[in-house]
């Protein structure tokens, strides 16, 4: 098969993996090819609006497993292809030298056995690093069930590793991916996390200790292929950040790829749910929120109409409005509409002179939503005779109602919601 045809098939098969980030690593160009850029660089944006930073491909889409939600499952009748390590090396180097990409994101279905596949992946990254002296970014997917020694050895060559959780609950995993064991996912995550910690300490003590997965590990969960609540997913997310110190958890709205009795029959991917999860994930990581502040057993799903922070603020309206010249940084972060950048700028600017409403605009704070929750020098700039229903009405706005079929949180056509998520993903990490 021609290289071009392989690339078509194996890029197409890799596209459901959300991550394309090239951030978190400071690899230098050591008389070879390339380096990494700490905050990551997007090189293009595909027709779905997602950032293209890495050459994201599968090594093969032949698979011995039969995961119901996956397009590559053995029982699916599709075109199949397998790269050779040299082909991938050649593509990566030539794309990189033309500045198409930041590096490689290599994943794979399972050919013959987990170990056999993992060895092929390892061979590929070794070639890149050792033979070609390639110092660009490499993100490698861990094959569930592969020998821990192989995984550890891969960790020495790559910038980022990921083990995909795929399905939030064990029961679903049994139902939809019968050959995958929970342990084969959780175990390597724990091992990688421990090794990273160990190496960090080594690096602190000895200057030239070798690197291990400098950009950390990430994972991905499919949203909407099972009956998990948002609460379940968010709780699991919190555990993954705390226990395994993951760099990122990605969510992927389930794109219907098969008609399996155990899968829901939906016509479009649940993009709004995915969007809300990203918003909440952001709140966990950078805004000091805990999962149980946003969702709890009597409220297991996100509000369809409101972003999680606004939703939280309305439930805690007794804390507002806050005075912009006095509120702590932590509290500013909890004001709907204020991001990290805005909160920081407020804290800096108010040291010089106390801020009025116009000042806020001038320093670049967007007040569209924030104005309902703040005062400036004691003055409130929201509507007169304000009450919580009024604020809710204003926040939701007319256009939101038009865009959503309100009865179903999942069947939503959306243009303007999705963008901000992706932009954040790209710019901040």
């Amino acid at each position: 098969m021609e290289l071009l045809d392989k690339l078509k098939i194996l890029a197409d098969a890799a596209k459901y993996d959300v991550s394309c980030s090239s951030s978190g690593s400071k690899r230098k160009n050591n008389k070879g090819i390339g380096n990494t850029y700490h905050s990551g660089i997007c090189h293009s944006w595909s027709a779905d609006g997602r950032c293209i930073s890495l050459l994201k491909i599968l090594f093969t889409n032949f698979c011995i497993y039969d995961c119901a939600y996956c397009i590559n499952r053995v029982t699916n009748d599709i075109l199949r292809a397998t790269f050779t390590p040299d082909e991938i090396v050649d593509l990566t180097i030539n794309f990189y030298q033309r500045n198409y990409i930041e590096g490689l994101f290599l994943s794979s279905a399972i050919l013959k056995s987990p170990n056999y596949t993992m060895e092929l992946l390892l061979e590929t990254v070794k070639k890149l690093r050792d033979e070609k002296k390639f110092n660009g970014y490499i993100h490698l997917k861990v094959i569930p069930g592969a020998d821990p020694i192989l995984i550890e050895s891969a960790g020495k060559y790559v910038d980022r590793l990921s083990v995909n959780v795929e399905l939030p609950s064990n029961r679903d995993l049994k139902l939809l991916a019968p050959q995958k064991k929970r342990e084969s996912i959780i175990k390597p995550m724990g091992a990688i996390s421990n090794k990273i910690k160990e190496k960090r300490e080594e690096v602190r003590k000895y200057k030239n200790a070798s690197k291990f997965v400098p950009a950390g590990q990430t994972t991905q969960m499919i949203v909407g292929a099972t009956e998990d609540t948002d609460l379940n997913i968010l709780r699991l997310t919190e555990i993954l950040y705390k226990q395994f110190r993951l760099k990122r958890v990605y969510y992927s709205a389930y794109v219907p790829v098969s008609k399996h009795p155990n899968l829901p029959s939906i016509s479009t991917p649940p993009l709004l749910r995915e969007h809300r999860l990203y918003q909440a994930d952001w709140l966990l990581r950078f805004y000091g929120f805990k999962a149980n502040e946003l969702l709890y057993s009597s409220k297991p799903y996100f509000n369809v109409h409101l972003d999680p922070k606004s939703d939280w603020a309305l439930k805690n309206i007794h804390l507002f409005p806050v005075e912009i010249n006095k509120a702590s940084y932590e509290m500013l972060l909890r004001v709907p509409g204020l991001g990290i950048r805005s909160a920081k700028r407020i804290v800096t600017a108010r040291k010089m002179n106390s801020l009025n409403y116009e000042d806020l605009k001038r320093i670049g704070v967007v007040l569209k939503r924030a104005k309902y929750f703040i005062t400036c020098k004691g003055k409130y700039y929201g509507p007169k005779n304000v009450n919580i229903d009024k604020i809710r009405g204003m926040l939701i706005g007319n256009n939101y109602n038009l865009k959503y079929k309100t009865s179903e949180g999942q069947q939503i056509s959306m243009f303007n919601l999705y963008p901000s998520v992706l932009k954040n993903m790209i710019v901040i990490l």
Binding site: G32, G34, D48, N99, M352, G364
Partner: protein, 258 residues
Amino acid sequence: MIYYIYDGSFDGLLTAIYESYYRRENPVKIFAENDFQQNLFIPKVHIKTHKKKAERVYNSIREKVSRNALRNIFYAYLSELPNVGTWIYDYIKLGFKVKEDIDKYLSDKRVSKIHKIAQRVRHERHLILGLIRFKKLENNIYYSQIEPKYNIIGLVSPHFAKRFSDQYWIIHDVKRKIGSIYNKKEWIIKDISSIKEAIKYDKNELLYQKLWVEYFINIAIKDRINPKLQMKNMPKRYWGYLTEKAYNSKEGVRTCKL
């Protein structure tokens, strides 16, 4: 009321700032020659660029104000906006007064103006780091054309000098007719008003262009097509030089005629 006119160079702008302090004048506006529109009723002073004077201003900004302020000024200058000379002058006057605290006065118009412009230049610089597309030529030179809004080739060159330290490369700003040229040791910016020889691709160049284009097409999820989002992240004005957007199957990406 008085206007200062400088030659458009960064040194020229700094010289103008020097003169205003030296002559104890308060020019209302500082313009680059090209941006200046005649106004008969306002007295003008033509500033002659003077390296030493520029250097003194440069050093005193760095030492008495801050490195950060100097960077902001330089980035803002590269925006080439017609009024930017005046805005920089206003900003730095405040800077000499409040010293290293200048960039904390976020609610001051003079500061927020410069920050906003510098930020836009910084944003484009970052975007261009990703959007530059090199084409490998017959003689092993990796050649790229761009038409950035702001004058940023000097800002992106250090990145590529580190990253592609072992490649000959040229980044050609077609709009400004200048190019950054790297010889595996150092990069310099030169005028490129015309290229005499025809540009010939390396024999494998078209193959990789084609592979990249196919990759680009196949990595998109069809159920999620979102052209608005794509355009928001990657404005159309850059598409003309993007391999994946400007590709045509016979000749690949044509380079702009000069």
